[in-house]
Amino acid sequence: MMEVIYILPLLFLVACALTAVLMKDLLGATIILGAYSLIMAVVWTMLNAVDVAFTEASVGAGITTVLMVAALSRTVRGEYEPPHEARGWKRKRFSITKVSGFFVVVLTAAAMIYGTMDMPDFGDPNAPANLHVARRYIEESRHETGVPNFVTAVLASYRGYDTLGETTVIFTAGMSVILLLRRIRRE
């Protein structure tokens, strides 16, 4: 039963993604992308990934959308559509990118589906991913770190260094944006 309820938002995600990519109005596409992120957060809550869902709801649906709208307000809102009388070579160039892009995508998808064949089934408690390192985190982390939230225990203690890296990534983004966009003060 769970599976049936669960597949609906997934299909909705695909619909949102398609709309966001195909829509000509960029502002509309951005809002749909926000909705996509929010549904994604719902899906992750259903999968019990509460920390990740929380982050996605605040970052993906919140900050990313705000930044996109802010950027749109400083550029243009619509995607360019080639006028009907556009010259032949130009239309052709358009289609060459699209066709070759399509082939690359199909090829990659095939490789990915090939890769799923030997994957453990969805939700299998005995999948290797749930046994080796993860089991120890669940069994020992309370004793070793004193933190009841396993995600926090792993994030801050066992893999605390990754979190330092993550914070550095954010810091890097901040510095990059300042370097790119900050106005030069002229005295």
């Binding site: 982050t55 605040s58 801050a156 914070t167 901040g174």
Partner: protein
Amino acid sequence: MKEHIVIRTVSRLLIPFIQLFALYVIAHGDISPGGGFQGGVIIGASVILYVISFGMEDGRRRVSESISDFMNSAGVFLFAGIGVLCILAGGAYLEYTAFAGKAAHGEHAEHALHLASHLGIYGIEIGVGITVAAVMMTIFFETARHEDD
């Protein structure tokens, strides 16, 4: 957006609660979902809300460029610094239990270790929170349109 009195009043009312919630999220990262990153994003979002309803100039008056620039660095510095303190205390980098020192072998060993580990975890969560909040603000301030654009 000078005349939008409803937006301004509502956001003036909401922002303190949003920020309080953010602090709750940071402080309770160890027992519930959330933590420094999520809390930091919420603080950043509250400032963004302020800027949207009161304008860039007002926003920059509240959080000036030098403050946000300082906070950008301060958070990561706190995080990385805690790691260095662990080394100075005789452990490996980010080995919080090094803070327990001699107590790690006393009769309340486990308690002392948990305390040290909690201390480290809170420290880094706060560090993450500061940097994330500041960077979110910085990015928004730089990306959003200025009045004279």
